[in-house]
C-alpha cells in the first residue's frame, strides 16, 4: 500500500477519535457548570488546556465563558481544532484514501460529515446541546462499527487502528495531565465534595463513569481512579489498553512486512512502563512526571511511525 494511504488512514481515524473525545469533554464541562457554577471557570480552562486549544481560544476570545467555549469547541470557524473542522479533515482524509475504505466505512464517514455540517451550521442552543453531543458520539461510533464489521484485517486496517488508539491514549493522558493533582494521595480529607466533582469530571470526560462504578463498587478513590485510567487493561480508554493495541497493530506490520523499525522499539519501551502494573511505583516516581514522560514518548512514537512507514516524502 502507498505510504500516503497509510498516513491518510492514520489521520482519518485520529481526527474522528479526537472529535469524539472533544464532545466528551464538552459534556463533562457542561455537567460541572450546571451543577457547580463556582467551579465552572477553572473547569473550562482545564478543558481548553486538555484539548490543546487554550492559546487559540485566548487569541480570538477574551473571557472564559461557558457558551462561548462550547461554541468554540464545537464549530467556531476561528478554531481549526473544532469538532466540525476535525470531522471535515477526517472526511478529507477519507476521500484521499477512498480506495482503501469499504463502501460502508466511506458512507459512514461521509454521512457523519453531512449530518454535522448541517447540525453545526449555527450556534447550538443549550437545550439542544446534549442531543448534538450525542449525535457526534453516535456518528463517530458508526464509522468505528463499519470499520470493525467490514474492513479486511490487513495493513490498512492496522494503520487505521493505530490512529484510533494513538489519539485515544493521547487524550486520556492530556486529561490526566490537567487533573493529576486531584488524584495524588491527598493530604486533605479524601472525598470532600470538591474532589468528588473533579473525579466525576475525569470519569465523564473519558466515558468511564459507569465502568468505574461497576468495577469498584461505587467507591470513589483517587488512587483507584488513577490506576483505572492508566493501567487497567479492561478499560478501552486506559493508556495500558491503548498501548497494548498499538503494540499488537505494529506487531502485525512487523510480521507482515518482515521488517522491524525504530517505532517497534519505541512502542515496546512505552509498554514496558505499564507492565509492572504498579501504581505505587508511579506515585513514587511522580504522577505528573510519569504522564509528562508518556506524552513526550508518545509524540516521538507518532513521528517515528510516519517516518518508518513513509507517510510522506
Amino acid at each position: 500500500m502507498l505510504g500516503k494511504t497509510a498516513g491518510g488512514l492514520f489521520w482519518m481515524f485520529r481526527y474522528l477519535e479526537r472529535a469524539e473525545n472533544t464532545a466528551r469533554m464538552i459534556d463533562a464541562g457542561l455537567r460541572i457548570s450546571l451543577t457547580r457554577s463556582s467551579a465552572a471557570e477553572s473547569e473550562w480552562t482545564s478543558i481548553l488546556s486538555s484539548t490543546g486549544l487554550r492559546a487559540a481560544y485566548h487569541a480570538t476570545h477574551g473571557t472564559i465563558d461557558g457558551p462561548q467555549i462550547i461554541n468554540f469547541l464545537l464549530r467556531d470557524p476561528a478554531n481549526p481544532g473544532s469538532i466540525l473542522a476535525g470531522i471535515e479533515t477526517a472526511r478529507e482524509n477519507a476521500r484521499l484514501v477512498r480506495t482503501a475504505l469499504t463502501r460502508e466505512v466511506w458512507e459512514a464517514v461521509n454521512e457523519c460529515y453531512m449530518v454535522l455540517k448541517t447540525t453545526l451550521a449555527h450556534p447550538i442552543d443549550d437545550r439542544d446541546l446534549p442531543r448534538v453531543l450525542q449525535i457526534i458520539r453516535q456518528r463517530s461510533a458508526y464509522v468505528r462499527g463499519a470499520s470493525h464489521g467490514t474492513m479486511v484485517r490487513n495493513d490498512m486496517y492496522n494503520f487505521a487502528r493505530i490512529g484510533t488508539f494513538f489519539e485515544r491514549a493521547d487524550n486520556t493522558a492530556r486529561i490526566l495531565d490537567q487533573k493529576y493533582y486531584i488524584l495524588l494521595p491527598s493530604v486533605r480529607f479524601v472525598g470532600s465534595p470538591s474532589d468528588n466533582v473533579q473525579w466525576e469530571t475525569i470519569l465523564r470526560a473519558t466515558s468511564s463513569t459507569r465502568a468505574y462504578q461497576t468495577l469498584h463498587e461505587g467507591e470513589n478513590d483517587p488512587r483507584a481512579i488513577a490506576r483505572f485510567l492508566l493501567l487497567d487493561r479492561r478499560l478501552p480508554r486506559s493508556l495500558a489498553f491503548c498501548y497494548g493495541k498499538i503494540s499488537e497493530n505494529l506487531g502485525y506490520l512487523e510480521h507482515e512486512y518482515g521488517t522491524r523499525h525504530i517505532c517497534h522499539e519505541l512502542v515496546s519501551n512505552i509498554c514496558e512502563k505499564f507492565k509492572a502494573d504498579d501504581m505505587n511505583a508511579i506515585f513514587e516516581y511522580g504522577l505528573h512526571e510519569f504522564i509528562g514522560d508518556f506524552l513526550r514518548d508518545s509524540a516521538s512514537l507518532g513521528r517515528q511511525i510516519e517516518i518508518d512507514y513513509r507517510f510522506s516524502e
Binding site: 502507498l2 505510504g3 478529507e92 476521500r95 512486512y257
Partner: protein, 481 residues
C-alpha cells in the same frame, strides 16, 4: 397516464421514445407500458431518493472557481435512454472502425507520415499543432496501442442518423457515471430489469484492467502493477479516478507519490519504492513530466518520459494522442478512416468549416447566427458559441474574438439533436441528449461497452449537455437481441 404535451412545442426534433408521433417506438414499448402504470409523484420521490444516494456515495464533481459548490452532484434523470440491439450494433461497428483508424493514424503520424505523403492531410496540420508531440516521433508504445481508452461523443438526429461530434482520445471522463447510473437504476427499479433485458455494463472495470494489462512494457516481469494517476482530490473528476482505481484494484497515485528509481517509475509504499508497469494517467500531456513539458508542473513525474521511451512503463493513453481528437483534425476524419481502413466511414462526421481557411471564415462570419463555433482546443463547452441560442450581443462579441484569431476556431451547422423524455413535475418532457460510449483498445481487440453515458440538457430547448454547464445524465440501455 402519459403526459407528453411539450412534444407539440418541438416538432422538428426526433424523440427517441416517441419518434415524431405519439406512440412509443419499438425499443421503448415495454418501458412505456411500465411507465403508464406508474404514478408521477412516486417517481419524483424516487428521483429525490436517487439524489440522496449519489450524495452519500459521494458521486460528485468539483466545479472550478466556485468554493461554495466545490462538490456538486450531476443531476440524474431516471427515465432511461433505450437503444435497440440492432441500432447499437451499427453504432458499435462504426465506433470500432473509427478507433481502429485513430490508432493507425497516430502510429503513422509519429512514424512515416504516409497520410501526409499521400496528400490526404496538409503537413501544417501536424507541424503547427500543439497537440503533436515531437517527443513521440519514432517511438512505438508498448503493445502498439496509443488510445487505450476512448470516449466517442455521438449525437443522433433521426432513426438511423448518428454523427460523431468528437473523438475524446486523451483522457475521456464520465465512465464512473455510466456505472453508477446503472447501479442506481438497479437499486431503485429492480422490477424493470426483470421485465426488460438490458445488456450489462458492469464488466467495464475488469475489461479496463485486462485491457491495460495487455500492454505491459518490456521491463515488466510477472503480474503487472497498475496505477491511476490523478491530479488530486481537488480535480473535477477525482471521484472517478478513485472509483476506477478501486474497481480495478489499482493504486491511486499523485505525482508526489512517484519518482524514478533505477530506471523505473516507482510509487512510495509503506515498504519502500515499488515499480509501476502501467500508468493510467488522468493528467494532461502538458503536466506529465516537468523535465520534458511544462516545467512548473507539480502533477507529474520528473523523468517519466525517459523511462517511457526506454520501455520502463506504459502510459495510457500514450502522450501525444491529443492530436487525434483535435477539432481541426476532426474535419479530416472521413479521409483518415478511409485512408487506414480502406472503408467508407460508417458514422457521419459533422460538416466542419475550418476558420483558418479564408472562404470558410467568410461563410462562418456571414452565418454566425445559424452555426455552432468551437475553439479548436477547447473542451467542456467553454468558449463556444451556439448561434441559434445566442443573443445579438453575444454574437457580435464572439465575432470580434473570431476575427482576431480565426485559426483558433471551427464552425459546424446546428444539428437537430434528438430528444429523450425526462421526468418533470408535469410528467415527461423531451430534452436534447448526446451519448458518450466508452471504448477499450488492446492488442487483443477493441471493446465497445454497450451504451455509455447519456448527457441531457435539462432546460427546455437547450443544446448544451456539459455537466459543467448544468447538464444532467441518464442511464443508457442497450437491449438484448
Amino acid at each position: 397516464m402519459c403526459t407528453f404535451g411539450p412534444m407539440a412545442k418541438l416538432p422538428d426534433f426526433f424523440d427517441e421514445m416517441y419518434g415524431r408521433g405519439t406512440e412509443p417506438r419499438a425499443p421503448y414499448e415495454a418501458y412505456a407500458k411500465w411507465f403508464g402504470g406508474e404514478n408521477n409523484a412516486r417517481l419524483l420521490e424516487k428521483s429525490a431518493e436517487a439524489e440522496a444516494l449519489f450524495r452519500l456515495i459521494g458521486v460528485t464533481f468539483n466545479v472550478y472557481g466556485d468554493p461554495d459548490a466545490s462538490e456538486r452532484l450531476i443531476p440524474f434523470d431516471l427515465v432511461p435512454r433505450i437503444i435497440a440491439a440492432q441500432e447499437w450494433a451499427k453504432v458499435a461497428r462504426g465506433i470500432e472502425q473509427r478507433v481502429r483508424a485513430l490508432n493507425a493514424f497516430l502510429h503513422d503520424i509519429y512514424h512515416r507520415q504516409e497520410i501526409v505523403r499521400a496528400g490526404r492531410l496538409p503537413a501544417e496540420m501536424l507541424a503547427l499543432n500543439d497537440a503533436f508531440l515531437p517527443e513521440m516521433i519514432g517511438m512505438s508504445p508498448p503493445g502498439g496501442i496509443y488510445t487505450h481508452i476512448v470516449g466517442t461523443d455521438l449525437v443522433r438526429t433521426d432513426d438511423n442518423e448518428f454523427y460523431v461530434l468528437e473523438d475524446n482520445a486523451r483522457t475521456p471522463s464520465g465512465v464512473s457515471y455510466m456505472l453508477e447510473n446503472r447501479e442506481t437504476m438497479l437499486h431503485m427499479f429492480p422490477e424493470l430489469f426483470s421485465k426488460i433485458r438490458v445488456q450489462p455494463v458492469s464488466q467495464y472495470p475488469r475489461s479496463l484492467r485486462r485491457s491495460l494489462s495487455g500492454c505491459v512494457p518490456d521491463a515488466c516481469s510477472g503480474r503487472p502493477t497498475l496505477a491511476v494517476l490523478t491530479p488530486g482530490i481537488h480535480n473535477s473528476a477525482y471521484y472517478e479516478h478513485a472509483f476506477l482505481a478501486d474497481q480495478m484494484s489499482a493504486e491511486l497515485v499523485e505525482g508526489h507519490d512517484l519518482r524514478v528509481v533505477d530506471g523505473r517509475v516507482a510509487m512510495r509504499t509503506t515498504q519502500g519504492y515499488h515499480p509501476i508497469d502501467v500508468l493510467y494517467r488522468r493528467v494532461d500531456d502538458d503536466f506529465l513530466d516537468p523535465l520534458t513539458f511544462n516545467p512548473d508542473s507539480m502533477l507529474g513525474v520528473p523523468g517519466i518520459m525517459d523511462v517511457y521511451r526506454a520501455g520502463g512503463i506504459t502510459i495510457a493513453n500514450a502522450p501525444g494522442t491529443g492530436i487525434a481528437d483535435d477539432k481541426a483534425i476532426y474535419s479530416y476524419m472521413p479521409d483518415i478512416v478511409e485512408f487506414y481502413t480502406g472503408e467508407k466511414a460508417i458514422l457521419n462526421n459533422v460538416p466542419t468549416h475550418r476558420c483558418s481557411e479564408p472562404d470558410a471564415l467568410k461563410y462562418v462570419l456571414d452565418n454566425l447566427a445559424e452555426l455552432v463555433v468551437k475553439e479548436v482546443h477547447g473542451s467542456g463547452g467553454y468558449g463556444m458559441l451556439v448561434g441559434p441560442a445566442a443573443s445579438k450581443k453575444e454574437i457580435s462579441d464572439f465575432r470580434k474574438k473570431l476575427e482576431s484569431n480565426p485559426d483558433n476556431y471551427i464552425a459546424q451547422p446546428t444539428l437537430a439533436l434528438s430528444t429523450v423524455p425526462i421526468l418533470t413535475e408535469a410528467g415527461l418532457a423531451p430534452r436534447h441528449v448526446d451519448l458518450r460510449p466508452f471504448v477499450l483498445v488492446s492488442p487483443q481487440g477493441i471493446e465497445v461497452t454497450p451504451g455509455g453515458l447519456t448527457r441531457v440538457a435539462l432546460s427546455e430547448g437547450s443544446l448544451v449537455v456539459n455537466s459543467s454547464q448544468g447538464g444532467g445524465t441518464k442511464d443508457t440501455w442497450v437491449l438484448e437481441e
